[in-house]
């Protein structure tokens, strides 16, 4: 039986919730508040593979005693262990494309969305000292998330990558690959907040295919079920620190 530790159905936490709801996969849901994984998940990190999740990107899926982390890799894990879900084609080129988009979303999109989200909706209350979070820059990121942060320029920096994603959709049909896949879940979960955080970026006239994809996904039964897991009136306003923006600028 899978146990899934997850925050509100938003951004990274939304991804496995959708994937699990795509099929008849039994799992125990363990909602966690806006807390670092070290605090929220018993025994975390259990091995080096979690310690090198230096960005502490939740959620955490536990199966057969192994804690699976990193939201895109977690989607890959689910697709590989449950091929009956049909979430990842067998063709090596399609898989390459999926991993390439996953990398782009993780590195070029998610950091800016998290930045925009925390700037608009910081974590409430005064920051605790977050002792025990390692490495140190992660602890600093959690402390900073309680205060005022600057996301000036983030929307502009997202624009080229959004255009690239739109172009990828132009090449195919209604999904990124030949059929619905973890790529659609990944992109949807990370872009879903942008109409609120950066109006016009994915809901304007420049990205009709992406806008249509987001609209289609909103109506998908798995997405509706995942969103029904919310305990907050506005789960789309609940953010936690995630991947950092490249230090190379």
């Amino acid at each position: 039986m899978i146990t899934l530790y997850h925050g509100e159905p938003n951004l990274f936490a939304l991804k496995p919730l959708i994937a699990l709801e795509e099929g008849d996969v039994a799992y125990q849901s363990r909602p966690i508040a806006q807390l670092p994984l070290e605090t929220a998940v018993p025994g975390y990190p259990a091995e080096t593979a979690q310690a090198i999740n230096v960005e502490r990107e939740g959620p955490v899926l536990v199966e057969h005693g192994v804690m699976i982390t990193g939201s895109f890799f977690l989607l890959e894990y689910l697709a590989e262990t449950r091929p009956e879900l049909g979430l990842l084609p067998a063709d090596p080129l399609a898989r390459y494309t999926a991993r390439g988009i996953g990398q782009t979303v993780a590195n070029m999109v998610a950091p800016f969305v998290v930045g925009l989200g925390l700037a608009r909706y910081p974590i409430a209350g005064a920051a605790p000292d977050y002792a025990g979070i390692d490495p140190v820059e992660r602890r600093e990121a959690w402390i900073a998330a309680h205060g005022s942060t600057d996301a000036t320029g983030h929307a502009d920096r997202l624009r080229p990558t959004i255009a690239k994603l739109e172009k990828l959709l132009e090449a195919g049909g209604e999904w990124f690959l030949c059929s619905f896949s973890i790529v659609d879940i990944d992109v949807f979960a990370v872009l879903r907040n942008l109409p609120d955080l950066a109006p016009g970026l994915v809901d304007g006239g420049d990205t009709p295919r992406l806008a249509a994809l987001l609209a289609r996904m909103e109506q998908r039964p798995s997405v509706l079920s995942a969103l029904a897991r919310a305990t907050h009136a506005h789960p789309e306003r609940v953010f936690a620190p995630g991947p950092e923006i490249s230090r190379w600028g």
Binding site: T48, I52, P92, L93, R99, P160, W248
Partner: protein, 261 residues
């Protein structure tokens, strides 16, 4: 499709370029090698932009398909071709492999490359004519790469950035040492793409950061590097080096018994 010819466009077997080269050698996949001189900006010239309009290296051409992301490219090589498996057989093992690759690519690698570009690539390129350099930067298709090259060429890395890179690198080295004391290879008991990825970034560590990567402080990490260095595929891959960069591999040669102390 697997029978279609393969071409790998690369610079030195180092960091990103070396990933598909070493993966292909390990897999036993023959490929045509096209060496691009990064320091002469070959990757931004029309011939190569016709292959990869982004002007990034490496690129892998398989038949009519062009792949440009180095880490997913390695998994493609493992999935598309016959040969020894380069990924763990179980999904949890593959997840560990991917976590290590992300750690190397996103955390350790950028710190390593910032230091490397500051002391190596930047000074080497700075010798060229300033007008030629400015034109070369203008030809770079991706804004993010233009920013990176400007920083390297004009020595724009701040002391704070370099200090932070060194701190992250030291943290990474200590973490790898502790992990390899418990695990033969990065993703478990078997050699995998995580080791391929990491070796390409880490083989020069004893030269780059001897203060933290040395026989006294990181014996396990050095043993792992030496073991990997002895793999025939590493030898074949680094034989394609055309600069002194490749000589760093010899720093991993085991001392011969009886050598003068």
């Amino acid at each position: 499709m697997a029978a279609a010819p393969i071409t790998i466009y690369h610079w030195e077997p180092n960091a990103n370029s070396g990933k598909p080269m070493l993966a292909a050698e390990e897999k036993g996949v023959a490929y045509d090698s096209v060496y691009l001189d990064l320091l002469s900006f070959d990757q931004h010239k029309p011939d190569y932009l016709a292959v990869n309009p982004n002007g990034t290296i490496p690129a892998l051409k398989h038949g009519s398909v062009v792949l440009t992301e180095s880490t997913p490219m390695m998994e493609y090589i493992d999935e598309a071709f016959e040969g020894p498996p380069l990924r763990p057989a179980d999904a949890a093992g593959r997840w560990r492999m991917r976590m290590w690759m992300r750690f190397i690519d996103n955390y350790m690698g950028p710190s390593l490359s910032m230091i490397g570009w500051n002391v190596g690539i930047g000074p080497a390129v700075r010798q060229k004519d300033p007008a030629e350099l400015a034109a070369a930067i203008d030809r770079i298709p991706l804004e993010a790469r233009r920013v990176a090259w400007r920083k390297a060429i004009y020595n724009e890395f701040s002391e704070a950035e370099l200090t932070e890179s060194r701190r992250r690198l030291h943290y990474s080295v200590r973490l790898m040492e502790a992990h390899l004391a418990k695990s033969r290879y990065l993703a478990g008991d078997s050699y995998s793409l995580a080791d391929v990825d990491a070796f390409n970034s880490c083989y020069g560590l004893p030269a780059m950061v001897p203060e933290v990567c040395n026989d006294a402080d990181t014996p396990t990490l050095l043993e792992w590097l030496r073991t990997l260095r002895e793999r025939p595929a590493v030898e074949k891959t680094w034989a394609k080096s055309r600069t002194s960069r490749g000589l760093r591999l010899s720093l991993l040669d085991r001392p011969v018994k009886g050598d003068a102390q």
